[in-house]
């Protein structure tokens, strides 16, 4: 149950952000640029989003799907134990190490963890990955903090937030 007032529809993150329309618009612009103009492969961003959501045990975020990102159901299943999976590239594994730490151990991220990602991505992309991880982390915190319920359809949530083109 969300803490905020609503009318009839289940509370989605987009509908709650819409209580502040100017923030919703700016947030959507930021989110879309991250997915579409950062130079980071959407699959890498999607893996990061799902892993951060997994670390938060955030059902409403985990239910969202971005099919265009190219993450299969098998990939999603393997994320729970990605360390032992062979489904992910070295670049993806480096990003997933960061994704594991951002939610609850951000202060423990060390130089080698970032250096591992820099061996695969240019600095602008590394910056975008870190921005993405913190944004995905924020979404989970918003969802938990405001009591956002899992969406009835992922498409509804994606439409409210902005998503992949």
């Amino acid at each position: 149950m969300t803490w905020l007032g609503r009318t009839t529809a289940p509370a989605s993150l987009g509908s709650l952000l819409a209580l502040r329309p100017e923030l919703l618009d700016l947030h959507r612009d930021f989110y879309n640029k991250l997915w579409n103009a950062s130079g980071v492969p959407p699959r890498l961003l999607e893996l990061c989003r799902l892993r951060v959501a997994w670390r938060h045990d955030c059902r409403s975020e985990l239910l969202i799907r971005h099919p265009a990102a190219g993450v299969s159901d098998a990939d999603r299943g393997a994320l729970a134990d990605w360390h032992r999976s062979e489904r992910f590239s070295d670049c993806e594994r480096a990003a997933l190490r960061l994704a594991d730490q951002v939610p609850w151990q951000v202060g423990d991220i060390d130089d080698e963890t970032v250096a591992a990602l820099r061996r695969h991505l240019a600095d602008p992309q590394v910056v975008a990955v870190m921005l993405a991880l913190t944004l995905f982390d924020m979404h989970c915190r918003l969802r938990h903090g405001l009591g956002v319920e899992p969406p009835e359809t992922a498409e509804a949530t994606n439409a409210a937030l902005g998503t992949l083109d």
Binding site: R20, E22, L23, L26, H27, D29, F30, K33, L34, A37, S38, V106, G107, D108, I109, D110, D111, V114, A115, D123, P124, V126, V127, A128, L131
Partner: protein, 59 residues
């Protein structure tokens, strides 16, 4: 926690400048949060400082 930047800053000491479009979108959102919000600045600043303390962010 490291107190040295892990990404070489390119403009005004900000790693975000590596991504000009994202940097612009981020600061528009952050600026709106600070300047067009329904909360007073004191409340937001207290929350910001407390968050930095909890996350041990001395930067």
């Amino acid at each position: 926690m490291s107190n040295r930047p892990r990404i070489t800053p390119v403009v005004s000491g900000s790693a975000l400048a590596h991504q000009p479009a994202l940097n612009d979108a981020f600061w528009k959102l952050y600026g709106a949060l600070w300047n067009r919000g329904v909360l007073d600045h004191r409340a937001k600043e207290i929350a910001r400082i407390r968050n930095a303390r909890v996350t041990n962010c001395g930067l």
